[in-house]
């Protein structure tokens, strides 16, 4: 993040009175290229473009070199692809219906994970998903897909009826339930996807930045040995937080992919109507839905950095 680093150094030169803690300014960078046009580029967008180019080049090279007998790199990518395919897509949607959504979920997972991972790369230091636009666009794409899945398989009215008026509820409840459900499928789902990812990345940036800014101040700028000892502690904290952030990056990508798959599954007709009902499978899917809901509602799912945010 060249902007923030530049800003940070200038500030620290101007006044060494305290640690140069990260602020929200660095994640609201001003455009530096094509200023004033609709295609203006700021530092985070630049990071995003570089990450995109990296993903495309890397995946295309791997794909073009893919052989029947895989090498080490191909094995790793295939393991990832297989994991997403079987543990997320087929688990929720079944093999038959899941096939057409595999590309979507894998693209979402890989993109989000590598965008998130930019926060751990020296020189970038901020995730490509740290402006709300990117998570929002991912969430809108998820919304388009679960609406399309519902409309394509049931038709618009049947889809809306199933979503707004779930069976087995006494009719007066519908007065309350229908608007809530409508709000959920139009706003709450994409908004929760967006905010969960975005705030986790903001919090990650602030946490790691906090640790290393403190380390810089206490360990390098202060001459007091007590402060230097404190600097060692904050350095260790920064390293631990970096490792933790790598976990969060993967976890958030996983949650986003799982929830998108779950939303698509909820839009599709019941598994029983389609495949004649495999009770064991139905139970397994039911359990997974429960899991997904727990993930959605758990503190880790909502915000890994609740305490900071």
């Amino acid at each position: 993040m060249f902007g923030s680093i530049g800003l940070g150094y200038s500030l620290s030169l101007a006044s060494a009175s305290g640690p140069d803690f990260p602020t929200l300014k660095e994640i609201l960078p001003q455009p530096g290229l094509f200023v004033g046009t609709p295609v203006a580029v700021n530092s985070i967008i630049l990071i995003r473009l570089i990450a995109t180019a990296f993903i495309i080049i890397f995946m295309c090279i791997c794909a073009s070199r893919a052989k029947v007998i895989p090498g080490r790199m191909q094995n790793a990518i295939e393991m990832l692809v297989d994991f997403i395919r079987h543990s997320i897509v087929y688990e929720f949607l079944g093999e038959e219906r899941g096939k057409s959504y595999t590309n979507l979920i894998i693209t979402l997972f890989v993109s989000i994970f590598l965008f998130n991972f930019c926060e751990n790369i020296p020189g970038m230091n901020v995730a490509a998903t740290t402006t709300i636009a990117m998570p929002l666009i991912f969430a809108i794409w998820s919304l388009i897909n679960y609406w399309a899945a519902g409309i394509r398989s049931k038709g618009l009215w049947k889809f809306l009826k199933d979503e707004l008026f779930p069976a087995g509820v006494p009719w007066p409840i519908y007065i309350l339930l229908a608007p809530i459900n409508l709000l959920e499928i139009i706003i709450i789902r994409p908004f929760s996807l967006t905010v969960r990812l975005f705030i986790n990345m903001v919090a990650g940036y602030l946490l790691v930045g906090l640790c290393f800014a403190a380390t810089q101040y206490f360990l390098v700028e202060c001459s007091n040995w007590g402060f230097k000892a404190l600097g060692v502690v904050t350095l260790a904290g920064g390293l631990i937080m970096t490792v933790f952030e790598i976990l969060v990056d993967a976890l958030q990508a996983f949650i986003f992919a799982v929830l998108t798959a779950a939303y698509i599954m909820l839009s599709l007709p019941e598994q029983d109507e389609v495949s004649g009902g495999d009770p064991e499978k139905a139970t397994a899917t039911g359990l997974v839905i429960e899991d997904a809901k727990q993930v959605m509602n758990s503190p880790a799912g909502q915000s890994t950095h609740a305490e900071v945010a």
């Binding site: 602020t23 609201l28 295609v39 073009s64 295939e78 590309n103 693209t107 993109s111 666009i137």
Partner: protein, 187 residues
């Protein structure tokens, strides 16, 4: 840092810039297209090919195993058949050998019996002959002797022959006693 500015910035976080939205959309569309049109089909193709190859290899192995099993079975069958045949041949040979021995023994016994029989017959015949010639000679001799003893010639042939006959009868009695003794001796 002023609180008002911080609040301002915090609110700004949640309002995406138009250019940011445009770039995000572009990035997502490009990623989706690249994944859907190139990366995933390529990986799927390789994976499918691998699955096919593995399946083919498994089928081939199954086929080879079946062939080996049938060959083994055939071999075992043949072995069992050969063993049975060998046993049969051995048994046949053994029984044939004992048959041959039995035959030879019977043959030998028959031959021995025949030889003994012939010898007996020859002996009997010679004895008979000897007896006849003896009868003749003894008769003449006895007559001659008797005549010499009696001093007279037995002119009358009737007397002569009756005398000879009674003599021979007596001799024959002796003879039969003798031959009986002979037989006991032979046995």
């Amino acid at each position: 840092m002023h609180t008002v500015i911080a609040e301002d910035l915090g609110a700004q976080l949640f309002f995406p810039k138009d250019y940011d939205l445009i770039w995000s959309t572009v990035v997502l569309i490009v990623l989706l297209i690249v994944f859907a049109k190139y990366v995933m089909p390529k990986f799927n193709q390789v994976l499918d090919e691998r699955t096919k190859q593995i399946q083919g290899q498994i089928e081939e192995a199954t086929k080879a195993r079946r062939a080996a099993e049938s060959a083994k079975k055939e071999y075992e069958d043949r072995l069992a058949q050969a063993q049975a045949e060998a046993t049969k041949i051995r048994n046949d040979a053994r029984s044939e050998a004992s048959q041959i021995i039995e035959d030879a023994r019977t043959q030998a016994q028959l031959e021995a019996a025949a030889i003994t029989d012939n010898a007996q017959k020859a002996i009997d015949a010679q004895k008979q002959q000897a007896m006849i010639s003896l009868k003749k000679d003894v008769g003449t001799l006895a007559t001659t002797l008797a005549g010499k003893i009696l001093g007279t010639k037995l002119e009358d042939s009737a007397v002569q022959s009756s005398m000879i006959d009674s003599l021979i009868d007596g001799l024959e009695k002796d003879q039969s006693n003798l031959s009986h003794t002979d037989q006991t001796f032979t046995e």
